[in-house]
Symmetry: C2
Subunit: 454 residues, 2 copies
């Protein structure tokens, strides 16, 4: 048994109590009523890191949602690893679907249930315990820095602003982000890419006011009809997005990458039936499901506002209609470029008699991480030693806006966590498997050691 394993095994009970203490704090960053709780969570993390031996602990850029900055004991001449994580959590609604209350962490069958268990308190905690375990072995093998924010669930604006002013914060030899799951139990993963996002509202106005369909139907334009025509023009029934120029910007993953995805255990039928809950999978079906989810852009309609949607029958010709739509973006589709393409395509599909506008309300650039970096090799080796299997390269179809900023000083960003796919992040009964946390402490600890060995 390694020193790390002995340490983790010997200290499990205490560590579990510490994790529970962190999980008890309802640090919901989207709700100002929980500002003081967010501050409490930040201080719990900062105090804990100081107790573990960090000579420097700072609370930066905000009184209510400070970025916790901590530096471990110096390891002169050794590499620097920056750890990113977040102490804030999603709201716990709907409360009545929780088996045990979201802020009363409860262990059942080896899982600990609480809001934030996997996203991201439990995962960040695993790295902190790795740091503690490594220090318990003797001299620090690397310089460890912690950048733990409190606004990941609400836009990260404070951290964006901080890094714009103090870009040297991310100067490191590797950035470790544990905010994603294993591919499957027993299959550690490294995210080699995240899709970006371009979220927009398409508004159509066709007349001054709503009109009576009996009196004017047949001659008056209908805003919903025009919007439907525009939306139908933007995507074919075959799943192909008909925004000129969009696919030209797609950088297809290499054959090696696609072959690696092809070797992942995956049952398409079960995915369709049990995860998606649909009778068919759609999209560009000549590409694999992984390529469609991770490496191809999407165009989704989220909802359509306007007209009459109440009970019964109102015969109104709507004067105005608004669709909420978004595209997921893949390299090299930057948000800005895709905004231009979408606006142009909408304009081309709009009839002259309608006033049509596109408003952009949210977005993120896509991210690709070089999968062959030395730090990722070392992390994979750490996983192999502890788990018996190295990391498999996967991507995520989702978006984490801050990730590009973390890599801006040139450090490879490693997105690799110890959650499991069924952890129910953002949903009721969120949990993390405790065995995964203890394994995580060993893996990340071993990673620090390997980084120190070079």
């Amino acid at each position: 048994m390694s020193g790390l394993e002995s340490f983790v095994t010997a200290n499990r009970d205490r560590m579990l109590e510490e994790l529970k203490a962190l999980l008890r704090i309802p640090s919901i960053s989207t709700d100002p009523a929980h500002d003081a709780d967010c501050r409490r969570a930040a201080e719990w993390v900062g105090d804990h890191l100081r107790q573990l031996g960090c000579p420097t602990v700072e609370y930066l850029a905000s009184a209510t949602h400070p970025v916790v900055w901590a530096e471990g004991p110096p390891a002169p001449g050794r590499p620097t690893v920056l750890v990113y994580g977040h102490y804030d959590v999603q709201p716990p609604d709907p409360l009545d679907e929780w088996t045990s209350p979201p802020f009363e962490p409860t262990v059942r069958n080896g899982d600990i249930f609480a809001r934030g268990a996997t996203d991201d308190k439990g995962q960040t905690f695993a790295i902190i315990k790795a740091f503690e375990a490594v220090l318990a072995q003797g001299k620090p093998p690397v310089n460890v820095r912690f950048l733990i924010e409190g606004q990941e669930e609400s836009g990260s604006q404070i951290l964006f602003d901080l890094l714009a002013k103090e870009p040297q914060r991310v100067a490191a030899d590797a950035v470790l982000v544990a905010d994603t799951p294993y591919y499957l139990p027993g299959w550690p993963a490294v995210e080699t890419g995240l899709r970006g996002l371009c979220y927009a509202e398409i508004n159509v106005r066709t007349s001054r006011t709503d009109l009576h369909s009996g009196l004017y139907g047949g001659a008056a334009p209908n805003a919903h009809e025009t919007l439907v025509q525009i939306l139908a023009a933007l995507k074919g029934t075959n799943g192909r997005i008909k925004i000129p120029g969009l696919y030209e910007l797609v950088e297809r993953p290499s054959k090696e990458i696609r072959d690696a995805w092809g070797k992942l255990p995956f049952n398409e039928r079960r995915f369709m039936r049990d995860e998606v809950g649909a009778k068919a999978l759609t999209g560009l079906t000549k590409y694999s499901v992984f390529e469609r989810l991770w490496a191809l852009p999407t165009f989704e309609i989220h909802g359509i506002k306007g007209g009459f949607t109440g009970e019964g029958a109102k015969t109104v010709i709507p004067a105005e209609a608004t669709a909420k739509v978004s595209l997921r973006l893949v390299p090299k589709q930057t948000e800005k470029k895709v905004q231009r393409l979408l606006a142009k395509a909408v304009k081309a599909a709009a009839p002259k008699h309608a006033d049509v506008t596109v408003k952009f309300i949210h977005g993120a650039d896509p991210v690709v991480v070089d999968v062959v970096s030395r730090p990722i090799e070392l992390l994979s080796q750490a996983f192999k030693e502890v788990e018996g299997r190295g990391v498999v390269p996967v991507r995520s179809g989702g978006s984490i806006p801050i990730v590009p900023e973390l890599g801006k000083a040139g450090a490879p960003v490693i997105l690799s966590g110890i959650g499991l796919p069924d952890d129910r992040l953002h949903a009721p009964n969120e949990k993390i498997n405790l065995e995964q946390v203890w394994k995580g402490a060993r893996v990340f600890g071993r990673f620090f050691q390997l980084m120190g060995e070079g």
Copy 2:
């Protein structure tokens, strides 16, 4: 000056007070809080007809919204004219847009403003005053019967049920309905047709629950996307409805009718700009605006429900979407036939992986009235004598569900009123022009006399 004109002129002030008394009653049939007011309005009409000399007055089929049935003094051997009208009114909202309160009738510049002024209290009142004026001249020239209901604005179910049980109520030589306007000031009109209606909800379900577009976008079906595809398949950008079989059921108005419409004074540019408030008129533009509004079917989207339409950006793939749609129907498109065609076309446009249903929630068959009936000729003659111009044949793009029932015993139904196009029915500041009411009393009185002469 005719006897009718002298009578109306001599009694104007009293009649105006009577009209005000009727307009003061807030007989809103869609709101149960006004049940007692509806009953009060029914009794006002019944009492008034009894005072004018009706030996028979009955309140039928309902305690709160009775159908008022009244028979004038018998005119043995003479024809029978059935008068249809309604004493109920639309809700007055939005209240703050009224210049004077909706149930405090106020005269300004020769117009009387109140909810129900033109729809339909003022118009029914004009016929009642015609009846009074005729009786003042001596023996009744015709048998007059009144069928004045209190649920026209809320579905007419009570009257439908009554006429199903007592179909002889509509046995007459003519049915007079004054619930429509002149074509223009100085241009009395007879409606020779009403469009029918087929109102439906198209529901699409594509997955068990809403899904996260980051995790599943690219492979999961989107209910709004499917609904948009179906709606786009049902109507072309050229305005043509793509429901197979629909246009085959259209009976085009004769060349004479279309020529008559072509002679109506009409400024398409002003209609587009001032009435519709749009930059273009749409639909099957190779047909005239009148043909599109009165004699061609429509397909309108009224609203689309489901997904996310709140503030901000939620990246949900909707599992369910529902569109409210309706078709206006023209002869010989019965509601039942069109229901079948729509259901079939939706099914044909739906992809296999989606659960798509069509639910029909409201409707009416189209109506055509034979424009060359003897009673219409006589009414036209009455208008010519009073107004200097006979009726022009027009149609209405709207629907009055009870009208087919009124003609079921074979009597020609005459839809001809004395409102003006700017009376703002169903809207704030509804009014009727008092000169129109007094002219109406003379016109309808003269019609009774001419019917009596045969």
